[in-house]
Amino acid sequence: MGDSATRRLGDSAYQAVCFGVAALIVAVHSATAQDSLRFTGPDAETSRQVAQVVQAAAAAGLPASQIVAKANLAVLVRAPGPKIVETARAVAARLEIARSSIKPHELANDIVNAEEALSYDAPPEILHQISLASPKAPIAVPLSVLAQLLAIRVPAPRAGQIVLDLVRRQATGTQMQALGNDVDADVRLLGVRALAAVNFRYGKLIPTLAPLPPSSSATDAGLIQSTSPGTKKP
């Protein structure tokens, strides 16, 4: 066998190895994706019903792993089967609303965090405004802080306004993270009213942030009126 034949054989073997590795990566990725959608409930009927919800959501292009995550959480806290199914259906419905509320954002993680905010009764209009205020950058962190503030029982209009302003003032993820934690500490450890705490913490943050764009207050009202009325909770 000559050198050229050996080289051709070597090239073929190299290509075969590359193809094999690529196939393996695709297979592992596919298996991982399948794993993230695998749910085992406390009984077969619950597992079957949740799997149906998950499959339907995945077929609709929604990040169905969020349904599995919350169903798993329900299992963890020993929720009964019907409650787990109900949770899965509610998450699926919110994911649909979340996706339409934060367009043009399409990242799964953004939709997941919008669903988290909706689960704390964030109005879809607020999500829409946050989405439009940051049309290019991911909005998972602002939506996460919005969910935190709502969990602390900051009134939704004020929580939404502050998060919207944080986005417009280009606050960093770390600044937003600190705001949520500080407000919680003020409320829980000091007994301060949530609204007073968030106003105080936001006031302290303002000097470190960029100024608001001049058109922001005018767009607030305009955006509300232009928000699609079709995004209602099921």
Binding site: E125, A140, Q148, Q161, R188, L190, G191, V192, R193, A196
Partner: protein, 374 residues
């Protein structure tokens, strides 16, 4: 009889606020006692003792303030006022409509009491930080059996710039006060502006305005008000006020000039002064730091622990034993930005929420910490 009506009014206010508290709304209250140098229409200038109570209720779509004020000017002369103000807005960060209602009862020794009730509908534009509103309203004012109709048109604007808050308003009022105040109906236009500066435990406000009266009285008149409060303890503030107000024909309060000092007491700690329980050393605290696009460091600080585990959505709800260096327990993982639920266990004990995180109740018995990963 007058005192009885004031008492009934105050009782109704407290009842309404207890109802608010029972439905889970946020309630804040304060009590104020002080002394002032007071000059009122038809009363000689003198010293007076004053007391007041304020209750604020804040809900998702509305807020309510109830207040009770009383002063003792001489041994036999008392004045008292009870008032409730409420507003309801659309449920959005930039509500475009608002309904306001107000009710007031004013009484003083040897004079007829005045009771008023008003409502207004307003259209808003802007946000809580800056915006404007226009509205119209109406109501009635009752003094000694005389019922006078009230009509109002009002516009106001607000602007928050850092720690400074500015407000301005323009209002038109027409009312039919009883003959003791005016022989005929009165209409006037009020123009006012105010500024408030709040930093840490100090609040200073200045406001003033002018009234342009079109009938039954002097052509123009003005009013001024300045107030300052300093929270010297988490639950107590020293308050100084001075000013001059004009006759309020609707609510029956007379023209007054005063300077006063008081102590304000509140059951809730002021946000800038409250003392936090010593959580730093004794309770576990969790911190997350993004190292790069893939890796996030999760650190839990807890003194004198032999083992620390974390269980979260980013661990697939499987307990993960952390490595430690001193009091800091650490793990590095790939975690997506955004909201995550987390629980920790120290020395194999019960699963708990880190002390520095907001908590979410997953069931009656189980809570998780809500952490934002940047």
């Amino acid at each position: 009889m007058r005192r009885a009506r004031l008492f009934l009014f105050a009782t109704c206010q407290i009842g309404s606020l207890m109802l608010c508290a029972s439905v889970g709304a946020q309630v804040e209250s304060s009590l104020e006692v002080g002394a002032s140098r007071l000059s009122q229409a038809n009363v000689p200038t003198g010293n007076s003792f004053s007391g007041g109570a304020t209750l604020d209720w804040f809900g998702e779509r509305g807020q309510l303030r109830a207040m009770l004020l009383t002063s003792r000017q001489t041994e036999s002369r008392w004045t008292g006022q009870a008032a409730v103000f409420a507003s309801f807005t659309a449920n959005s960060p930039s509500p475009w409509w608002q309904i306001d209602v107000a009710a007031s009862d004013y009484a003083q020794t040897s004079a007829l009491p005045t009771t008023s009730a008003e409502g207004a509908a307003r259209v808003r534009r802007g946000s809580a930080l800056r915006g404007a509103a226009l509205g119209i309203g109406g109501g009635a004012s009752i003094t000694g059996g005389h019922v006078g109709a009230v009509q109002r048109a009002l516009g106001d604007g607000w602007w928050t710039l850092g720690r400074e808050r500015f407000v301005a308003s323009l209002g038109w009022t027409r009312t039919d006060p009883p003959k003791v105040f005016s022989p005929s109906s009165i209409s006037y236009t009020d123009l006012s502006a105010g500024w408030r500066h709040e930093v840490a435990a100090i609040s200073v406000g200045v406001s003033g305005g002018a009234r342009f009266q079109s009938s039954s009285g002097p052509d123009t008149d003005d009013w001024e008000l300045i107030d300052a409060s300093v929270w010297f303890a988490p639950n107590a503030a020293f308050v100084v006020t001075a000013g001059r107000t004009l006759t309020d024909f609707v609510r029956g309060t007379p023209r007054t000039t005063w300077f006063g000092a008081s102590i304000r007491l509140s059951p809730s700690s002021h946000v800038s002064l409250g003392r936090r329980p010593a959580t730093g050393r004794s309770t576990p605290r969790l911190a997350v730091t993004r190292i790069n696009a893939e890796r996030v460091d999760v650190e839990i600080t807890v003194p004198s622990a032999t083992s620390v585990e974390v269980m979260a959505d980013f661990t697939g709800w499987q307990p993960v034993l952390l490595e430690h260096a001193g009091d800091v327990w650490r793990t590095g993982r790939a975690i997506t930005p955004g909201l995550h639920r987390v629980s920790i266990r120290v020395n194999g004990g019960a699963w708990t929420v880190p002390s520095n995180l907001p908590r979410a109740d997953a069931s009656a018995e189980t809570s998780f910490g809500l952490v934002t990963v940047p």
